[in-house]
């Protein structure tokens, strides 16, 4: 290598180091502070301890908020997966006039009517329905926003699975519902798993919907409780905040690693040019 090439190489890796530091520095606190005897706001090598995790049990809301998150995102996951599977299957197998156009319009709608742009009417709607301070109300609103994309992904998936299995099952006298349960469901399982993970991660990370629809701290999910931890007055309880955020983050990171190992992290269907 010429000296110029060496210098260029050093500059190149210097740039990569800087970029990595920019992304790593804010993240490091999340993995180091929970294990530090005296956590501060600074990123530093921890004086190792697991005692901070005891704070989770001492706070009256920490564990119940995680339970609320499981209820809300679990509910949304089941609703999104179940309802989109039914709709996608019907749309894939039975010819409905204008089907693609309807799906297309719904998708467009779901990217325009975002949680922020629609927060006022959604709040009022839930108020009129008496669903303020109701965890299932949060699940329902989240489900409504996720369904169009879920139906679309699954319809694509169902379109790609052969119909011949269903036809032969019919020939042997299976009823349509038996076909659905014993033939279609097993074939569609990978697609359903994708949708389930995707819906779960989205609902798990939600802040705004739960923030505007729930008042009672007993019903608050982890995302909103986390926010109240550091905005309510007084000295911030860093052992609690650090351990709580780590526990709250773990499911998302675990699912990411799982999906990444299994399928590789990339766009659905690739990006067309």
């Amino acid at each position: 290598m010429t000296p110029a090439a060496v210098v260029r190489r050093i500059l190149f890796y210097g740039l990569i180091t800087l970029l990595s530091l920019f992304f790593a520095l804010p993240l490091l606190w999340l993995v180091l502070a929970p294990f530090d005897k005296t956590p501060t706001l600074t990123v530093k090598i921890p004086d190792f301890t697991l005692d901070n995790f005891a704070e989770l049990g001492k706070n009256p809301y920490a564990l119940s908020s995680l339970k609320n998150s499981i209820l809300i995102s679990g509910g949304a996951m089941l609703l999104v997966t179940g309802l989109s599977a039914l709709a996608a299957y019907a749309l894939s197998r039975v010819r409905v006039p204008g089907r693609d156009l309807i799906l297309y319009a719904l998708l467009l709608l779901s990217s325009i009517v975002t949680g922020t742009a629609a927060m006022v009417p959604i709040f009022l709607l839930m108020f009129q329905l008496g669903l303020i301070d109701d965890r299932s109300g949060v699940s329902l609103v989240l489900t409504g926003g996720l369904l169009p994309a879920a139906i679309f992904i699954l319809k694509d998936f169902m379109d790609a699975t052969p119909k011949s299995y269903e036809e032969s099952a019919r020939v042997f006298g299976a009823s349509p519902l038996q076909v659905l349960r014993h033939v279609v469901l097993p074939i569609a399982r990978p697609g359903l798993a994708t949708i389930a993970v995707w819906a779960l991660v989205n609902a798990w990370g939600d802040f705004l919907t739960a923030y505007i629809l729930l008042r009672d701290p007993e019903k608050t999910p982890a995302g909103v409780l986390m926010y109240t931890f550091y905005t309510e007055g007084g000295q911030a309880n860093l052992p609690l905040i650090s351990t709580f955020s780590l526990v709250y983050a773990i499911p998302v990171v675990a699912l990411y690693l799982f999906v990444n190992r299994r399928y590789g992290f990339r766009f659905h269907g690739g990006i067309k040019s």
Partner: protein, 326 residues
């Protein structure tokens, strides 16, 4: 069941059952997406409030709310801040950084690539209230990591440089999408063309301008429109600064929250919401037009039947990625 329906009805589902399968999903979509969008239009023309006389009996006020918005300096301020936020953090920050990472990651060892990409993706997938606190801690004037590194521990970044802080935060948060999109796009640039350019002595800048850019022009536009749409609708600045200090970071989503749900001016907030929906619609329509143009350019016309589906595929990619990001 008609013969026509039976032809593509392998499972013998039948029209009636098909309708029953589709209905629950469509009802939820109608209730929580279609209805709110339509209702905003009506709410925006009333003086609806959270409490008081107008709560029990809201009056129709026509376009008064929109007229009020035209002369409301707080709304102007918010609109301007939103433009600065979208331009600074999405169009400049995320695009440039995302491209830079995608470009440099082509010529590094696999492990380095895996580490850098995982870091960038982590910033993108973690729940927003966690990343908001990580940044509150990072920028804190009482032992925050940034102040410690820069040896200026007393600087309260979020108070002294509020807009710059949320712009840098959002660049960090959202770069992953641009990185993924540009990696995919750069993968499609023929290596032979780059090789030829390099052998004929073109500089890196010339290679980019003459070989790479023509290939990824469409991706740059796609990326710009999508990240603009998401950044425009991003509520996380509220978790960092709650709109402050003194309205300095009150982007439109925060403005709507503070005026309508916190301040109780539901009618006025709905009018602003409708303006937001319209802006979203304009960006989305631009995006769709762009997709159509690209497709027509690619395969010279026809194949209209596939168009709606292909468009929807792209919108879907968008919807999927956006939601993962939130």
């Amino acid at each position: 069941m008609t013969a026509n329906a039976g032809a593509s009805d392998a499972a013998g589902l039948g029209r009636a059952r098909a309708v029953a399968f589709v209905t629950p999903a469509f009802l939820l979509i109608a209730a929580f997406l279609v209805f709110p969008a339509v209702w905003t239009i009506w709410l925006g023309m009333t003086d609806f409030r959270l409490t008081g006389a107008q709560a029990a009996d809201p009056q129709f006020v026509g376009l008064d709310n929109y007229r009020a918005a035209l002369t409301d300096p707080a709304f102007h301020n918010s609109l301007w801040l939103t433009i600065v936020f979208v331009f600074g953090s999405a169009i400049v920050g995320q695009s440039v950084l995302g491209f830079l990472i995608a470009w440099t990651m082509r010529s590094v060892p696999k492990t380095v690539k895996a580490i850098v990409e995982t870091l960038v993706l982590m910033a993108w997938i973690l729940p927003s209230s966690i990343v908001a606190f990580l940044w509150v801690a990072f920028l804190n004037n009482n032992g925050g990591t940034l102040g410690t590194i820069l040896n200026s521990p007393d600087t309260a970044w979020l108070l002294e440089y509020p807009m710059a802080s949320i712009i840098i935060y959002n660049t960090w948060r959202g770069t992953a999408f641009s990185m993924l999109l540009f990696s995919a796009a750069l993968g499609a640039v023929p290596p032979s063309q780059l090789e030829t350019a390099r052998l004929s002595g073109a500089s890196t800048l010339q290679q980019f301008r003459d070989v790479v850019f023509p290939h990824i022009r469409g991706h740059i536009l796609t990326n710009t429109l999508l990240i603009s749409l998401w950044t425009f609708n991003d509520f996380v600045p509220y978790l960092l600064t709650a709109g402050g200090p003194d309205h300095a970071t009150e982007t439109l989503p925060v403005f709507i929250y503070l005026r309508a749900l916190y301040g109780g001016e539901l009618g006025y907030g709905s009018a602003i919401s409708f303006i937001m929906l319209l802006i979203n619609l304009v960006i989305a329509l631009f995006y769709i037009r762009l997709l159509r143009e690209r497709r027509t350019a690619n395969r010279s016309g026809d194949a209209d039947a596939d168009d709606a589906k292909a468009d929807a595929d792209e919108v879907l990619t968008a919807a999927e990625a956006r939601n993962v990001g939130q």
